[in-house]
Structures are given as C-alpha cells and as structure tokens.
C-alpha cells in the first residue's frame, strides 16, 4: 500500500512536468503578447519585465492591414452556419438510415465509407474551379456550403443510433407523436454527446481550416480570423513577435472559451462515438 502511494505521487509529478511542456507554448504566446519589441527578441524569461498593451493597441487600431474584429465577425458567420448546416443534415440523414426504409440504403452506406477513405484534398481544386466559374470566390458560400456533406458525422451518429434501443421512439409513435416530435424530444437528447462532440469538431475544423479558405478567399476584409492571422504571420508582423502573439491570442481566445464549455460533453462523446 505504501509503495502504491509513493508511485501515485511520482506519477502526478511526471504528469505535472508533461503539463508544463504542453502549456509552455500557450504561456509563451500570452506573455510575449505583453512584451515590447526590444524585450521580446532578447527575452530569456517567460514573464515580461515591462508589461505593455502596445501590441494589442497596434493590432486593433491598424484596421487596414489587420481588421481583426471584421475577421472575427466573418468567422462567427461561417462557423455557426457551417456547423448548423452539418448537424441538421447529418442528424436527419443518420436517423433515416438507422430507422426508416431509405431506398438504396446499402448503396448509400458503402458510398459513405468510400468517401471517408478518400482524402478531402481530391475535391478541393475541382471545387475551387467550380466556385471560380460561378463567381463564388471571396464570398462566404464556399466556406459554408461544403459542410453540408458531413460524411464522418453521419456515420458516427448512424452507428450510435444502431446500438441505441428504439423502444422509446416506438413508444413515442404509439402515443401519437409525429416523426419530428420523436426526433426532437427523444432522438436528439439521446445522441446529444455525439452531436455536441461532432458540432465542436466541425466548428473547430471550420474555425481552424486554412488551406481551403486560402484558395477561395483573397480579399483581406473577407478573410476568416485564421486566414487573416496567417497573412500577418507570413507578412506584416513577422518581425515583431509581440504583435504576432497578440494577434494569435485574439484568434485563439474564442475557441478556447468554447473548448472549456464543451469539454465535459466532448469526453463523453468520444466514448460514445463508437470507434472500436
């Protein structure tokens, strides 16, 4: 018993060291954003000696090269619309595939598996060309609409529903509820952890995606925050670490807040996603 206690303490110490390594880049990001340029390029400590808001001031004032608030607004539109679109189409389709007589069901399921195995990049350039031909570049459409085809999302919800008893739903129908009432009051609550996890992963994917937006968006004011910051990283403030970290903090903050909020669901959702 004694040695077991000691080994637990030892494990916690290791866990703390690992946690420090994981947090180091994030701490570096936050603290550097409060350092002036002269200090940040020579600094040997994480904490700033002279705290300054200069970087944030410059970032928010300079709205021609870094319209951060505009970028955040664009991102909010794209991520919310894209996530909602994916969850709605996926829940409807997954429910139908798991419970209703969909014609050609087997064919659809096989197509889903193939589509999951083929990497996204294969569709990027043809899709880019299509959007270019219809004049969709530099709009939100190419950033939002492709989310409607959430192959993985459907597959996971479908799998979850297959393993989930359908007696409750049948009872609902016997009571005289229509299919939408059953879906909303019985099915959605029971697959909630999977939905929240998938919503978070979709949101994260849209928020953080870089390659696809960099193809379809070229005008500065239409950029998402990730794309905008990327332009800054590659260009204007590459030489000023403090400014670069300030912009990075602004881009990471919203997603971290949502992460903290969704955390407990995500852990459960991962368990119930049924990857076994």
């Amino acid at each position: 018993m004694r040695t077991k206690q000691i080994s637990k303490v030892f494990l916690v110490i290791i866990a703390c060291i690992v946690a420090y390594v994981f947090l180091l880049p994030l701490m570096f990001m936050v603290f550097t954003s409060f350092k002036g340029i002269a200090e940040s390029v020579t600094s040997t400590t994480l904490l700033p000696r002279n705290w300054t808001m200069e970087n944030y001031r410059e970032l928010f004032m300079n709205t021609s090269t870094s319209p951060v608030l505009r970028w955040l607004g664009n991102t909010a539109v794209v991520t919310c619309a894209g996530t909602a679109l994916r969850i709605v189409t996926s829940v409807l389709a997954a429910y139908a595939l798991a419970r209703l007589p969909v014609p050609g069901k087997r064919f659809i399921l096989v197509a889903l598996i193939w589509a999951m195995a083929i990497p996204e990049i294969v569709t990027f350039f043809p899709l880019f060309y299509i959007f270019k031909q219809v004049g969709g570049l530099n709009t939100f459409w190419p950033l939002i609409l492709p989310s409607g085809s959430g192959v993985m999302c459907i597959y996971l919800i479908y799998n979850f529903l297959l393993a989930f008893p359908k007696e409750l739903e049948e009872a609902g129908f016997v009571e005289g509820a229509n299919v939408f009432q059953v879906l909303w009051h019985i099915v959605v609550p029971s697959v909630k952890p999977v939905i929240v996890t998938q919503a978070f992963i979709t949101f994260l994917g849209l928020y953080n995606s870089y390659l696809w937006p960099s193809l379809v968006i070229s005008r500065n004011e239409n950029r998402t925050i990730t794309l905008g910051i990327a332009a800054l990283v590659l260009g204007e403030n590459y030489t000023n670490p403090g400014l670069m970290m300030a912009s990075t903090v602004v881009s990471v903050l919203p997603v971290m807040l949502i992460f903290m909020f969704a955390n407990k669901y995500i852990v459960r959702g991962f368990t119930q996603s049924g990857i076994k």
Partner: protein, 297 residues
C-alpha cells in the same frame, strides 16, 4: 408504409444533395481534369489521355521533379511524426489512466487543449519559440550556458525537421490521446486487479490485457495519423515556406503551386489523384493487416 418511405427520402435528401454538389461532382470532375489539358484561365483544352500522369510520374519535366520531391518530403514527415503521435499519445493515455481520479480531468484537459489551436497559431508560436535569431529557446539556452551559439532551428536542416515535428506533435497528440483514453476506460478494471494478485507487472499487463483490449483503436489511430500526416500543409507553409531550399515542401504544397502558380489544373489534378491513391492504399493495407491478425487469433 408509403408515407414512411417518403419521410425517409425527405430526410436523406438534403444530405444527398450536398454530398453530390460538394463531394461527388468535384470528385468526378477532378478525374476528368486529370485526363485533360486544363488551365485555370483557359479552362478545358481537350482530352489528353494519361499524358498528365506520364508527365508527373515518368518524364523528366519539372512536374516530375516536384512530384517525387514532394512525395519524399511528405514521407519523411510521416516517418518522423507517426511514431510519436501514436506511441506518445498512448503513453499519455496510460499515464492519465493511472493518475488519481481527482486530478485526471485537469490533466486530460491540459493535454487536449492544444488541439483546439489553429495551425496559424501553432506556426506563429513555434516560429518565435524556435527561431534561430531572437527565438526564445535559443535565448534561454544561451543564457543558461547550455549552448554558446544559436541553433538554426528554423533555418537549417536537420533542425527544421525537428521544429516541424515538435510543433506537429504538440498540436495534434491530444486528439489521439483522447481516443486511447476512452479505449482504456473500456477495459475491465477487475482484469488489472486479478493479474496484480497473480504477480503480473506492468509490462505483462500491457502485453496481455491492455494491448489486446485497445488493438482496434490502436490500428485506427495509426491509420488516421498516417493519413493526417500525409495531408500536411499548414505547418510547412506558415513555419518554413517549404524551405530551406525545397526540403520541407510537402506534396500538397507542390500541388497548390502547380495549380495556382503554374496555372496547370490538369497536371495538378493528376498529382492530387495519385496522392489520393497512395492514401487510399494505406487505408486498405491497414484494413487487411488488422483483419488478417484477427483471423490468426
């Protein structure tokens, strides 16, 4: 009954439409482009058969050179990152599994948090952590007297590969870890207790209880990690711009420059399809590997 089928069709229809518009049609269109002379500006200039593929795979053109160089760089990246991302995440999950319940959640959140950060942020942070001149790591190590000259982490090989690998591990290891954490949770704890009474040490438990219990998740993680590393783009684009020279230009960067800079949609599509085939072969190989082992058992 008929009403039920109508509902079913109505429910699947939105997805089917999006799937066709944004996956199936572009997919087929990509194949068509790859056998045509196609440019971004002039559009389709006619069917050329397998010319684009031959150009990419065999001829001594610049496309051929970029394709194989991109392939080589991508494979290097996959080989460097996969072991850490798979075995490292398993080690983290095992560590978490053995921690006291009270602190488990905190550490799990910390290890997983970096996954929520965008590739842009990862690049920005690691550039200034690792940069040869003025980077934090070099400043710190020089100050502590560990090194007396700055190490060109971002400027010279093989250091640049180290930086890219470290950044990638930090960024994505948490996701794999979560999958392993859940796989470990499913193992019956009574097995551990029973085996401990029989005098089994950690290594025996790992081999006879843990690995068999998480085997399928292990192969799943291995496969998805290889595929994800094959698709590397953002880190190299933003941290190194493919340099020094072209040593960290992965496949996707070669494809984007073929299409966007050299304006050749046909050849670029052929490259994309070839890359897709390699990735699908990886998955298929993985699938049969897992299956065969199961039958032997």
């Amino acid at each position: 009954m008929k009403k039920k089928t109508t509902t079913a069709v109505l429910f699947v229809l939105p997805f089917i439409l999006f799937f066709m518009m944004f996956w199936l049609i572009p997919f087929v269109y990509g194949i068509v482009m790859s056998v045509s002379k196609y440019s971004l500006v002039k559009g389709n200039q006619g069917f050329v058969g397998l010319d684009n593929y031959i150009k990419v795979l065999f001829s001594s053109s610049m496309y051929n050179k970029s394709f194989w160089l991109g392939m080589k760089n991508t494979v290097i990246f996959v080989i460097l990152t996969t072991p850490f991302l798979v075995l490292g995440s398993l080690a983290l999950a095992l560590l978490l599994d053995r921690l006291p319940d009270r602190v488990k959640g905190v550490f799990r959140t910390i290890y997983f948090a970096s996954y929520a950060v965008s590739v842009t942020a990862v690049a920005a942070v690691f550039v200034w952590l690792m940069k040869g001149n003025g980077g934090y790591l070099n400043n710190l190590m020089i100050n502590l007297g560990i090194i007396d000259k700055a190490i060109p982490w971002m400027e010279q090989q093989p250091f640049v590969w180290v930086s890219l690998t470290v950044a990638t591990i930090w960024w994505t290891i948490g996701y794999n870890m979560m999958l392993f954490v859940n796989a470990l949770n499913e193992i019956d704890t009574q097995l551990y207790e029973a085996s401990a009474i029989d005098g089994a040490n950690f290594r025996t438990q790992l081999r006879y209880i843990i690995f068999p219990g998480i085997k399928n998740v292990f192969y799943f993680v291995l496969m998805t990690t290889i595929i994800a590393s094959f698709n590397v783009y953002g880190q190299t684009r933003l941290m190194t711009q493919g340099g020094p020279g072209e040593t960290t230009k992965p496949m996707i960067m070669m494809i984007t420059s073929t299409i966007m800079d050299r304006n050749d949609l046909g050849v670029g599509s052929a490259m994309t399809i070839l890359m897709g085939i390699v990735i699908v072969l990886c998955s298929v190989g993985q699938y049969y590997l897992t299956k065969e082992k199961e039958e032997l058992r």
